[in-house]
């Protein structure tokens, strides 16, 4: 079985986002990049599946810039077999649908049987690409997956929705699954794993190399610029008084000023 994992490079969650002076872009300089945290659950699920089946290949793939290469290698160090970077050089402004079209072409070219990705990237928070790639391929998808169990070519899937409700699905492969946090606990790369990863097969291809028409990347959904969220006015912070008195003041403010309680 060929298992493909889609990953994306995102800024670390503890990164402070700074904007360029003209507000057109996000300052790249001091940003530390990581594998999108949800994608690590996708990698883990792919590795677990291969281990359970005792056979198969796990391909770690991304659409991105040169710096994505080392994150794919990190996925190989966790246990992936092969890396694929579809280069976004000159196509950095592509929107989610354009990226999904390119990745769908890659999934097709790889003849993947199953695709795992993270439920969403923590940069644009869109939850688009995995679902869109499935639609383009004519495949089923389930996103926000908290439980995955494969029996033959059918997977029993649980998906978390609001209010603690769980949707339970039977999905016929090939299909795309978006991993949520509680799906598993991603493994750490072992030292031998890290050593071996650098020697594993790795391809860097342009969208044209895999047969994607670059014109599909002309974005329809545009980002015009960025701004910071409005500053909060300074709050009323109480300290050094008896606890009863401070609680009394805050409850009164919630009642009379904020009018919430």
């Amino acid at each position: 079985m060929k298992i493909l994992v889609l990953i994306k490079q995102t800024p670390d969650t503890e990164t402070k986002i700074r904007l360029t002076a003209d507000g057109r872009n996000i300052e790249q300089g001091d940003v530390k990049y990581i594998i999108n945290p949800y994608d690590e659950f996708a990698i883990e699920e792919a590795l677990k599946l291969k281990e359970k089946l005792g056979t198969g290949e796990v391909v770690i793939a991304s659409f991105g810039g040169d710096s994505s290469k080392e994150l794919i290698i990190k996925g190989l160090a966790m246990g992936g077999d092969r890396g694929l970077l579809v280069s976004n050089a000159g196509l950095e402004g592509a929107d989610s649908l354009g990226i999904a079209k390119v990745l769908a072409t890659a999934i097709n070219a790889e003849k993947a049987d199953i695709v795992f990705c993270g439920k969403q990237a923590i940069d644009d928070d869109n939850m688009h690409v995995g679902t869109m790639a499935a639609e383009i391929l004519g495949w089923p998808h389930v996103n926000v997956v908290t439980k995955f169990e494969l029996n033959g070519t059918t997977a029993r899937i649980e998906r978390e929705v609001e209010g603690g409700q769980v949707e339970v699905y039977d999905v016929t492969l090939p299909a795309v699954f978006g991993a949520h946090k509680s799906l598993n606990t991603p493994r750490y790369a072992s030292l031998p794993g890290i050593m071996k990863a650098k020697k594993k097969p790795f391809d860097i291809k342009s969208p044209a190399d895999i047969g994607a028409d670059p014109s599909v990347l002309k974005p329809k959904s545009l980002i015009k610029g960025y701004k910071y969220p409005p500053e909060k006015p300074k709050g009323k912070i109480f300290a050094g008084e008896p606890v009863e008195a401070m609680v009394e003041k805050v409850v009164k403010l919630l009642r009379d000023e904020a009018k919430i309680i």
């Binding site: 969650t13 503890e14 923590i122 928070d125 869109n126 998808h141 603690g164 909060k232 805050v250």
Partner: protein
């Protein structure tokens, strides 16, 4: 512009957030003949009358047994049928789990532009522009679908106040869509244990951090939550330490919340936590460390031990709400 609003229902009940989408849709459409709604389910035809006065002259209904439980194949085909029937410029919904599942599929199917989780929205000819939080709200992006022939958008819940426009006679119009090929079968939808609203929909939240020290101590927060009708959340530190379950996690790798009141107890306020709750309208912080970053975003703060503060606060709330 012509707007089609997706009305989300579960168990035959229209979600309250659907009214937020209808309010926004009516403003963009300008008049009731330029707006339609679409509702998908089983035995849901009776719901159309509830939409009278909510801005749409037409309500498309895809009423079929296969739509009893949410299934993206069947729901996408149903909404697609309504799009074919109405030819809208914009399909508008809510960034709920269902909306965020359905809309990307439809946008890919119909090669449309899509903007997700908007906190502001404006019409421009046949396209839209708006504001969308990114990095869980660390910054806001100005986004647009100008020039697109077909746009899809979801709005963030709890941001736009629902206001009945008072026009639109919501005449039902049936649409049909063939059942999917069964490659996605919805087996069941298990109910959550809690009767409280989900964190993402809650208007009052009380959250605990690392200082909770263990899972039993969350009962202090639960008691307060029960008095004011709040939902209980947690920081990543509390979840990673096993004090709370992951579905309670607020922050960049948890839930982004937008309540009227957020009470942070023993939460220092890491960048990734604040990203998930900074748009809360009023924030109360309780922490023993006066230098904790959470006080920087707090409307009101108490520098003291949460185990002293919260029970007293619960009692005061109880007195007030008697």
């Amino acid at each position: 512009m012509k707007v089609l609003v997706f009305i989300e229902q579960r168990d035959g009940k229209i979600k309250s957030s659907a009214h937020e989408a209808l309010t926004v849709g009516a403003k963009l459409a300008g008049n009731a003949s330029s707006m339609a709604a679409v509702i998908v389910g089983n035995n849901v035809s009776g719901l159309t009358s509830q939409l009278a006065g909510w801005g749409a002259d037409t309500v498309f209904v895809s009423d079929a047994p296969q739509n009893a439980l949410y299934n993206v194949q069947n729901y996408a085909s149903s909404v697609e049928a309504a799009i074919k029937a109405f030819s809208p410029d914009l399909i508008l919904g809510v960034a709920s789990p269902m909306g965020r599942d359905l809309f990307p599929r439809l946008a890919a199917r119909l090669d449309g532009a899509i903007l997700t989780d908007l906190t502001a929205i404006e019409g421009h000819g046949t396209g839209i522009s708006g504001t969308k939080p990114m990095f869980s709200g660390k910054c806001l992006a100005e986004v647009s679908t100008e020039g697109a022939k077909l746009s899809f958008a979801t709005i963030r819940q709890n941001v736009f106040a629902a206001q009945k426009p008072g026009h639109g006679n919501a005449t039902a119009s049936a649409v049909t869509a063939a059942a999917g090929d069964g490659r996605i079968k919805t087996i069941e939808i298990r109910k959550g244990k809690s009767a409280k609203p989900d964190l993402t929909e809650a208007s009052l939240i009380i959250s605990g951090g690392r200082a909770m020290a263990n899972s039993d101590n969350f009962k202090v927060l639960n008691e307060c939550a029960d008095v004011i009708g709040a939902t209980v959340g947690a920081s990543r530190a509390a979840v990673d330490s096993g004090y709370a379950t992951h579905d309670m996690q607020v922050g960049q790798t948890g839930k982004t919340v937008n309540p009227n009141l957020y009470i942070a107890c023993g939460i220092s306020g890491s960048i990734q936590h604040m990203a998930g709750m900074r748009t809360s309208k009023v924030i109360v912080a309780v922490n023993t460390d006066k230098d904790a970053p959470i006080f920087g975003v707090a409307s009101y703060g108490i520098v003291a031990d949460l185990f002293q503060v919260v029970p007293l606060m619960t009692q005061r709330f109880k007195d007030l709400l008697k």
